[in-house]
């Protein structure tokens, strides 16, 4: 194929660019008078819809009972190996509970697989998207940071149930 000399193909009007620049500026000008979408974060916070997948959390019932039975399925399904669960025995009817439950937020890719696989509706994707750390250790969330009352997750639970 013969090499195409592009310069030769341009007309004079195109070659001086002025029309194109004017067109671009016109578009900018038009948008200046349209309604604004920008949110003044962090002064104004984004309130995500129920379908939003923020950091995973663990649901705890109103009576303080944790839902998780430490089955390890979330840990198994997690494609990023973010979850570490250590089970232990309890006197409760559901014989096991997580003695240790850690999610490494640096590993988590917020895919929601853990939520999908959980047989107890215990791990749920919250609306929390503010995750910043200054060192690796801080990114590992233990039960203290993960346990969240069911009442605060109702929105998401309703959403998830539509697909069960």
């Amino acid at each position: 194929m013969a090499k195409k000399n592009r310069l030769k193909d341009l007309s004079f009007g195109q070659r001086i660019y002025i029309t194109e620049i004017a067109k671009g500026l016109g578009l900018t000008l038009k948008n200046m008078f349209k309604p604004k979408f920008t949110m003044q974060y962090p002064e104004v916070k984004f309130d995500p819809p129920a379908s939003y997948r923020g950091r995973p959390v663990l649901a705890v019932e109103e009576n303080g009972q944790e839902r998780c039975v430490a089955c390890g399925l979330c840990s198994r399904v997690c494609p990023a190996l973010a979850i570490e669960v250590q089970a232990a025995e309890t006197e409760n009817e559901k014989e096991r509970y997580p003695e240790k439950f850690e999610i490494n937020m640096l590993r988590c890719i917020f895919c929601g697989f853990c939520e999908e696989v959980c047989p107890e509706e215990a791990i749920l994707m919250s609306k929390d998207y503010e995750l910043a750390f200054t060192n690796r250790a801080d990114a590992i969330y233990g039960k203290d940071k993960l346990l969240t009352p069911v009442s605060r997750l109702q929105d998401r639970i309703n959403f998830v149930r539509q697909f069960k």
Binding site: S75, E84, K94, E95, P119
Partner: protein, 565 residues
């Protein structure tokens, strides 16, 4: 041999075999719960139904003897429908809470439900409730709801152990397992029922809820409990041994192992009292030091004694490779004769099933190689009892103690060891004997090294590393890996598992030898084994691959002339 046709495939069988046995030997799996290759036929689960030509109804393949020309269908429409129906019945009262059950992941009911069931239950009534968490014995927990009444556990106790401990009570859907009045499930093999129970009804109390099976990596190795050398899997997670299960080897242990082996042979590997890094006694305290410092100290101390003032005692559980190098070092490099192995025989502790009186794993190995531990230290040196009495009388002043806690074995040796001027030990854990040591070298346990042991039958078997020390790397050393081992990094909390600064005994001995000016060229245990295989007729033709996963019976009778290690 007579022939039978299963699913259109012609296979040979031995007369007297049942259809399920013939199929299994030819790699055709007929699903079953109650049948077990080593137990009598019970025929109660009905899952192994197959269609046989000219028979009016489906028959259970576990109790149908194969006959010449039989035509069996295991995948016909009728069979699949029947199997599905059996599964549905079994699942009627079975709890559907696998996430809580400890068996999940290695459960036959789970597997078969995936394979042979439609996956929908038509049962809308309340499930039957039974007692849960019953302690059948010190080591086994029973969950009545999960039991599918296959009777394997009962038959195991009756037929393999010969102790009638378990039985069914009640009838119909209330039937459950219990121990006979006044009895417990406490025979020395009781925990095997947790392996053969096809569901999560019987669980190992020591391991219960510690880990999911898929989180661990199994390593094929040998039990260190006694001279039988049962084939086992060591299950590790985060560089920690969590459980042991028996591995089938019909020549050694069949499907079984004893509870003592299962419970008491791995905890020292994880223990906090592991020796990590060489230690020197300074002002009465054992202080961690560098390897070179420890070697130099040992060298200078040993040099200050006359040859006949030094003795060496080694465990009879050393691997063949360790033994080879230790002997070489003691005989050639140190040029001393007082060297023997510690015999650990507990009279009356053995039985006719698996457990041996000899608690050391490789005593037969020494015997075959020309040293009878405790009887005839070859080369005219002192034997065990004489070494002890010479220490007592002060004629022997320095002792090299290899992988053996003499005092832990027999507290009477405390006053013997306290008499020594210089004691150097190669130890896995700090123990009663190291409290008298001047130098302690950290030895890898059997779970951290490659090597071979020769069991009481003269069968050579391989041990493999399951736990890493600081000089090992799971992937590079070809060790078994779980998903977490494979993809984890040092920054993951599970990747920060404890690793000890320990070395296999042969490596410590090489280091010591080079301090004495003798260089051994070995860089791994396998090379030592290859050298033994070239020099010792007993091992001719053997290498690690030949020994393989199931070991090799040595031709002990054909070796007339005993060879000296």
């Amino acid at each position: 041999m007579p022939k039978i046709i299963i699913d259109g495939k012609e296979i040979e069988f031995k007369p007297g075999q049942t259809v399920i046995q013939a199929a299994r030997e030819n790699g055709i799996e007929i699903p079953h719960f109650c049948w077990h290759p080593s137990l009598s036929v019970s025929g109660n689960c009905r899952l192994c139904l197959v269609e046989i030509e000219k028979m009016p109804k489906l028959v259970i393949s576990c109790s149908t003897t194969a006959t010449e020309g039989m035509v069996v269908q295991t995948q016909s429409e009728k069979v699949i429908a029947a199997r599905n129906a059996v599964m549905e019945f079994i699942l009627i009262n079975h709890p559907l809470d696998c996430p809580i059950c400890d068996e999940a992941g290695e459960c036959k009911l789970q597997d078969y439900t995936y394979q042979h069931s439609v996956g929908e239950s038509r049962f809308t009534e309340e499930k039957n409730h039974k007692e849960k968490r019953i302690e059948l014995g010190p080591n086994v927990m029973f969950d009545g709801e999960r039991c599918i009444s296959c009777s394997r556990c009962i038959r195991f106790c009756d037929e393999i152990v010969g102790e009638k401990e378990l039985t069914f009570i009640k009838r119909g859907d209330r039937v459950t397992i219990t121990t006979f009045p006044g009895k417990k499930l406490e025979n020395p093999y009781s925990m095997n029922v947790t392996d053969i129970c096809p569901v999560g009804a019987l669980t190992n109390r020591d391991f219960r809820f510690k880990s999911r099976v898929w989180e661990m990596a199994p390593t094929k190795t040998i039990c260190s409990g006694c001279a039988r050398g049962c084939n086992i899997d060591l299950w590790t997670r985060n560089n920690e041994v969590l459980r042991i299960t028996p591995r089938q080897n019909e020549d050694v242990n069949s499907f079984w192992m004893c509870d003592n082996g299962r419970l008491n042979t791995f905890k020292h590997v994880n223990a906090n009292d592991r020796v990590s890094g060489p230690h020197l006694r300074k002002e009465g305290q054992l202080i961690k030091c560098g390897w070179d410092e420890a070697y130099a100290k040992t060298l200078s101390e040993l040099k200050s004694f006359a040859k006949d003032e030094i003795a060496a005692l080694a465990s009879s559980s050393l691997t063949v490779e360790d033994t080879y190098l230790v002997s070489k070092f003691v005989r050639s490099t140190l040029n001393m004769k007082n060297f023997d192995f510690v015999r650990k025989v507990v009279a009356g502790s053995g039985d006719a099933i698996l457990i041996r009186e000899d608690k050391a794993t490789n005593a037969k190995g020494f015997e075959l190689m020309g040293v009878e531990p405790g009887k005839s230290a070859s080369g005219g040196g002192l034997k065990f009892d004489e070494i002890i009495s010479h220490i007592e009388s002060g004629r022997i002043k320095a002792l090299i103690l290899i992988e053996e806690d003499l005092i832990g074995w027999n507290p009477a040796f405390e006053k013997i060891l306290s008499k020594l001027d210089f004691l150097v030990t190669i130890s896995t854990n700090f123990d009663a004997s190291t409290s008298f040591a001047n130098v302690v070298f950290p030895a890898s346990t059997y779970a951290e090294k490659n090597g071979t042991w020769i069991n009481f039958q003269g069968r050579i078997q391989r041990i493999r590393p399951a736990v890493t020390t600081i000089e090992m790397e799971r992937s590079l050393d070809g060790m078994s890996q779980s998903r977490w081992d494979k993809f984890g990094t040092d920054f993951d909390s599970w990747g920060k598992a404890k690793k000890n600064d320990a070395r296999p005994t042969w490596k410590i001995i090489s280091g010591l030898a080079s301090a004495f000016g003798t260089k051994y060229k070995f860089t791994m245990a396998e090379e030592i084994f290859n050298e033994i295989a070239h020099t010792n007729p007993l091992f001719t033709g053997l290498d690690y691959d030949v020994v393989g996963e199931n070991g090799v019976q040595l031709k002990t009778e054909t070796v007339k002339k005993k060879v000296t290690i």
